[in-house]
Amino acid sequence: MTHAGEDLLAGYAAGTVEVAEVWSVEPHLMACARCRSVLSAHVDAGRLARNRSVLMVRAALGDAGRVRGLLCRCGVPDHLLRLLGATPSLRRSWLLSVLGVLAVVTAEAAAVRYGWVRASGPARSPEYRDAEVLAPFLLVAPLLVLAGVAAAFLPTFDPAFRLAVAAPFSGFTLLLVRSVCALAAALVPVVAATFLLPGPRWLPLALLLPSLALCALALAAATVLDPRAAAVTAGVLWAVPVLLLETAHGPLPIVQAHAQFACLAVLCACAVVLLARRDRFEWGWTR
């Protein structure tokens, strides 16, 4: 057997030989213990240890869940998924809680509408009753979306918030990425639930604008107020009109044409405020 020259083995260990030579030397090394022994003298033990550590870390980082793996295959950047992994409202426990609340209000509405349980209060016309059973859902659904977005941007919910502040990554970008994904994640079950409700067919679409406006209002208000106060204010600004309208006219006016225009106006105004005051989300030393 012809053995590989020591210069070739040294070059192979250092990674400086041509690809063709690598192809010829590797099969030989597989079969030749003597050349493997010569090669080992040229290998930098420290470099080997470092490479091994990097491989172990890459293996550890590759241990992604099924959803993460699927999103990776769909082309979502790996670093974006890692940032989203630190968003509480995108965690399974949060999403299950949202589904739980939606299941309760949806089931309650369906049970009353289809007569499985008797509605309390005075007897109403069938049309009024159909709309009335939607009231809890219309109150709760946009608030659930708001809660998801609030959990994505409130410092209270980020245990490593101070690290994020001290890092060069843009606070506004981080906020937008997390908020948009939390919004989408909460809207999917909310819209899906509306298909199970005994309401008008346009209801799934009618919930989108108020939910978006509410979240935009919370974010815009957070550029002026304490973020927690901003989220609570937005929630109150939804709950109070819903409850007042429900008492006077039934719950549906809050998602009908006039309200949709109002929500669109709020959404546009908040988007402008948010863009104009985005520096307020670069937390930390801001003066």
């Binding site: 550590s53 172990m56 550890a60 980082l61 994020a164 001290a166 030393w285 801001t286």
Partner: protein, 289 residues
Amino acid sequence: MTLDVSTAAVRVDGLSRRYGATRALDGVDLALERGITGLLGPNGAGKTTLLSILATVGEPDSGRVSVFGFDPRQAVQRVEIRRRLGYLPQELGYHRHFTVAAFLDYVAILKEITGRRRRAEEVARVLAAVGLETRARTRIRALSGGMRQRLGIAQALLGKPDLLVLDEPTAGLDPEQRLRFRELLSSLPGDPVIVLSTHQADDIAAICPHVVVLLQGQVQFTGTPAELAATAAGRVWAAGERDERAHLAWRGGDNRWRHVGDNPPAGAELVAPTVEDGYLLLSHAAGWR
């Protein structure tokens, strides 16, 4: 030892910060050079406030800070400081569901290390530096307190920062880990500016060429550990019995009483002061209890 303020890597001028009626920092002037500076002071002295301002997380009421010539009041320059910064807050929160490697990966992304390969190399490097390389797959909630502290130190080292701000980095570390931490800081490449706060005077004596003593929001001393120890020269005695007139007295390992104060006990022997003695006398003089 006095530093040349005009050439210092980090400069702090007249920094003040209040929390309601409490004055956390009161006109602090500092100049930090490359190398390790230890910040010594009791709880409530303003150490954490000062470090959080240096890390651009906190904001002063008044005063100026310059880090490598960058002014943190300007948004663009603040980002430049953050690009050169490694920060370990006093109470670092963790995403407890993350694994050790995933948490470091997350912080690396926040530090703008977006390439997958480079992130893995950086994470492997800092894990090896703090001796956690075998814990890459462990969830943070399963780590002991000391391991979490090492993880905190590891994240601060990501990106090979030029300015390391470490708030009580040795808290929760066992004696061997503290020694390893000293070794780690001493062997960091690139001669970064390191400022660390601690209650451990022996940490300061062991690794810090510069010491700053902060009391009641004011700088009471800047110099070398030897100069701090020297402030207690002639005021530390060892005696067989306790003398009530001493500012502080405790029984040492040799079963003799060590007295720190101005009044020598009867039959006492003058002993060489330590950094701790100098610090105790300074804080006593400042009226700190």
